[in-house]
């Protein structure tokens, strides 16, 4: 082998290194964005489409979150192969109404997806969410299955427990990420609310996050920043969460909570279960990281 051949080989073989997946960094300025306003909309009613519009009114309507031409992600909980009345997934009518609101505010594209726990197609079909979006028959509103190629490693510079995790590219690149959890019981974390719902946009071995779940969720919340959180409490699962399966464990509340502050939304939703916000580890950890307000006295609740 001569020198020329050697160099040629080195270049050839090292080409693989330059093909490694690029790491995603979120700029510190974006992370340090001003603390969201601890303003919270609260509404009750049986017409869920109207309810979505009402709960957003105190926050200035969808127009204060979605600008014309925006790429929007609406992230419901579609985690389980359960029907809407079993209250394990976000209610399809709530999801659809949010998509419609975003489209009316001028969104260029609204994507709906979740990384499910049960088999994806069954969850999408039986949650009723897939057909609810398809029935809109609007090219701008799409419900897609997770594409594993789209998970990119993200540095979590402010994390106390996590330093890096894979996050779904569409969430990182969209203009407006709307988190739509269903409020329900969860064996380990007590309740699953907005912060826990964001586990549906991350890759990797999610089970391993359960070792220090509260802090891990808060760490993820430093890089997964919803502009709007809408907590679906139209019906809540009181026991045997997060999957449920027995309608006797479900309580109908016909309530929605909306806030630009993800911590405040979770904190207030906790009270629907007759619990205090400080009983939920992820809420406390996120509050300590300065991601939002958990003191009920400091959250401005506006009933609409």
């Amino acid at each position: 082998m001569d020198r020329r051949q050697f160099l040629r080989d080195v270049f050839l073989w090292s080409a693989g290194i330059s093909l490694a997946i690029p790491r995603f960094n979120i700029l510190p300025e974006a992370l340090a964005a001003e603390k969201p306003q601890a303003l919270l909309g609260l509404a009750t009613g049986e017409d869920y489409a109207a309810l979505v519009a009402r709960v957003l009114t105190p926050l200035g309507g969808m127009a204060s979150f979605v600008r014309p031409g925006d790429k929007v992600v609406v992230k419901p909980n579609i985690g389980w192969d359960r029907s809407p009345e079993q209250a394990a997934n976000t209610h399809p009518l709530v999801v659809r109404a949010l998509v419609v609101q975003a489209l009316e505010a001028g969104a260029a594209k609204v994507k709906v997806f979740d990384r499910t726990c049960n088999e994806q197609r069954r969850c999408y079909a039986n949650s009723g969410i897939e057909s609810a979006i398809r029935e809109l028959d609007d090219d701008r509103a799409v419900i897609e299955h997770i594409d594993p190629r789209k998970f990119v490693p993200v540095n979590i510079s402010r994390g106390k427990s996590l330093s890096e995790w894979e996050i779904y590219k569409d969430v990182l690149e969209c203009d407006c990420y709307i988190n739509v959890p269903v409020a329900k019981h969860h064996g380990l974390s007590g309740l699953t609310l907005g912060l826990k719902n964001s586990m549906g946009v991350i890759g990797g071995n999610r089970g391993s996050l359960h070792h220090n779940l509260g802090q891990n969720l808060a760490d993820l919340a430093t890089v997964i920043r919803p502009k709007l959180t809408v907590v679906d409490a139209t019906r809540i699962l009181l026991r045997s969460g997060p999957q449920g399966g027995n309608v006797k464990d479900v309580k109908r509340l016909d309530t929605l909570i909306a806030s630009p502050d993800p911590v405040a939304a979770d904190a207030y939703a906790t009270t629907l279960f007759a619990l205090q916000p400080d009983t939920i580890d992820s809420t406390v950890a996120a509050y300590n990281l300065g991601l939002g307000e958990m003191d009920l006295a400091k959250i401005q609740v506006v009933s609409a």
Partner: protein, 523 residues
Amino acid sequence: MALKRTPIPASLWRRIGQAVSFAFFLFLFIKTDYSGSDELTWAVNLLFRIDPFLALSAMLAVKALVALMLPAVITVVLTLVFGRFFCGWICPLGSLIDLSRHILTPVRNNLEPGKRQAKYFLLIFLLAASLFGLPLAGYLDPFSMLVRGLTFSLQPALDHAATSFFTLTYRHGPEWLNLLTEPVYALLKEYVLPFASKVYAMSVFSLVLLLAILGLVWLESRFFCRKICPLGALLALFSRFSLLRLHGGSTACGKCRHCHTVCRMAAIDDQRAIATAECILCLDCLAQCPQGRIHYGWRKGGAAEQPTDLSRRAVLASLSAGVLAPLVLPTRPLARHADPLLIRPPGALAEDEFLGRCVRCGECMKVCIGNALHSTWLEAGIEGIFSPRLVSRIGYCEYNCTLCGQVCPTGAISELTREEKHAAVIGRAYFDKNRCLPYSDGIPCIVCEEHCPTPDKAIKFRQAEVLNSRGEKISLLQPYVIAELCIGCGICENRCPLAGAAAVLVTAEGESRHAGRSQGTGY
């Protein structure tokens, strides 16, 4: 202006028939998948249900009529009328074998019938063995071998190759390239590739078997069909009596023996007599006869026929082999203790009847939405190879899914309603407390409890005070199993976040198909 019409040669018709059948087979294969509703509309099991060899074997094994397999009668009736057209026109493996002849040219011109009786002896052995408790029919059935090869290795391999390629273009290709490649990938995902990437136990082995069958073409054209295929042998026995058949040349042909030379089955001897049992109606001879002497028509008495040359001695020998071989089975330890890790799909019949009916078609494993069902190797004995078992660490049984029972062509896995499925116990979970984090290391976890699908969870937890690895006293939740609630679906084992073996494991203990029967001889 009158166009001169050339008639389509008969062998071209046959090729068109093969292509249409094969395309329909592939369509059914792709459709053997969840389609957004709990009920399947199409499945490859149609093909298996018209297979008289598998039908006969399953019925002999369980000594009962298997209603699901009655469509096989159609094949028999058609064969009695038209002859062994099934092998030449319909069989997808036969078509692939014909296709591989264009790649692998046979080393010698195989005009001699050779040991073509072997397939009859194999057929007799397999059927007798089925009757006496050693069901092996699915090992050599052409459809079973083909579907296993496609399901376990070819389709997943295609998926992995395509996904790797399109991941490369997606991550590193320029925008204009993705405008071209992404729609192609989307189309493939929609119509060709499996929905999610899958892995299968014994994938390489199944592929090697399939390729070996195709590769035998190198020795002789249609080697498998001539000498091995037990389905072909059964159809041959019927086609001897077929009403319609090919009638060959005669002494009037002089020195011409073209038909003898072109026959891929070596069914035409050098006296131009056609062995109807061996003739698969490929119609090459008919199309190529220079004098046009060969024709397809009603059976005539007195025409020259070749004997099937089955000696009584050989028939009796293969029959006795089939009768005697099963006698050795009760001498295995397996007769007393089933493998505790052998977990059968929900709805599977009791083990003997299950294996008797199971034709190893791989359909349940193809359709399994959780990629949970895999080929058994020797865990169920020599007669259990390729039968389905649940391997929870690879995939779990989806709580509301009933697809495996829907595709099973013989009812080895019975079709369950959703309620029946929820009540079907296929095994039970237990905790390995030496590895389970809340027990072994004082680390909170309970992912298993989160995923446990029964409405009244079979995995519950209790608050416990433990010392963690730093010697600090902490309070956490420790999971445990309530045996009466556990159905053995394996999602806990599947989702256990530990690397390597899970800390919660499923065994076949308590499976409802053997309810009331104690395992082993015991005390």
